[in-house]
Amino acid sequence: MTVTISEFFKESANWAFLAIAVPTLFAGWRTVTSNNIVRAVLYLVVSLGGTAGLFFMLGAEFVGWTVVLVYIGAVIILFLIGIMITRAPLGQEADLSHAMNVKAPAALLSTVVFGVITWAMIDAFGNNMIPPFEPTATSDLSLLLFDRFVIPFEVVSFVLLAALIGGIAIARQDEEVVS
């Protein structure tokens, strides 16, 4: 079943989608164009919040809350502290952008990639309507995680362990407490 543009705007869920997607896109744009690092991080918060909202709309509640908890709650803090511990200026900075000879090919490449992906998406799905669906229950997710995906689950803990130990060894002051 396909939808026309006028049908698209009759559906309230589509308005909700636009209300989330447009600010998300705008915030993402400002994240990369802002000349103030702290502001860029705060725009990233808005962008991630929008992403979480889209997950809620798709019925993936657990993933949505994970984005809120881990990304907005923790990773952004890490960003801000990362800015604080380096010599990065906190205020306005004029030369954050690259020169034109770097910008132009990058812009061209991104536009081409965007065009190809968009074309392929439209080619594959067209304006098909998404069939009605129920939100995914978190308990179903946990059944999968602890049955089929128990190996990746344990491996994740090793990823965290390796990242943290290595990160600390790289980041900490080069000294050892002699007891």
Partner: protein, 140 residues
């Protein structure tokens, strides 16, 4: 869970954003606006600032933040286990205990290495540089 359950959250968010937005907008509109360089300078007990207020924070803050992120991720996974824990039995408990063991080992590592020790004077007494310093200049 139905989407309608999110209505209170949506209303709450709209109210919150609206209140903040209106307040900022009104205060901009209503407040008198007459800036001078002195008014715009950062406030430091009425004394003219001597240096850039931006200083480098010790890297220890970063370690604490990293620990926070890791344990945050742990909570996400533990939550999945908790919603169905009665069904997984000992295998589930084993999996979760192993998972937590990694993070506890991390904490132990950080502790033993003294990265959680905030006693600056004691650290200064006992410090010994351990990272490579002599650079073998291979490209020279």
């Amino acid at each position: 869970m139905e989407f309608a359950d999110y209505l209170p959250i949506a209303l709450m968010s709209i109210l919150g954003i609206g209140f903040a937005g209106v307040s900022i907008f009104l205060s901009k509109k209503l407040a008198p606006h007459n800036p001078t360089p002195e008014k715009l300078a950062p406030y430091e007990c009425g004394i003219v600032p001597l240096q850039d207020p931006v200083i480098r924070f010790p890297v220890k803050f970063y370690l604490v933040a990293m620990l926070f992120v890791i344990f945050d991720v742990e909570i996400v996974f533990l939550f999945l286990w908790a919603v169905r824990m009665d069904q997984f039995g000992w295998v589930g408990i084993g999996a979760v205990v192993l998972f937590m063991l990694m993070l506890i080992e991390t904490l132990g590592y950080v502790w033993k290495r003294g990265a959680l020790d905030w006693n600056v004077a004691r650290r200064a007494r006992n410090r010994r540089v351990v990272a490579p310093v002599a650079t073998l200049d291979e490209a020279a």
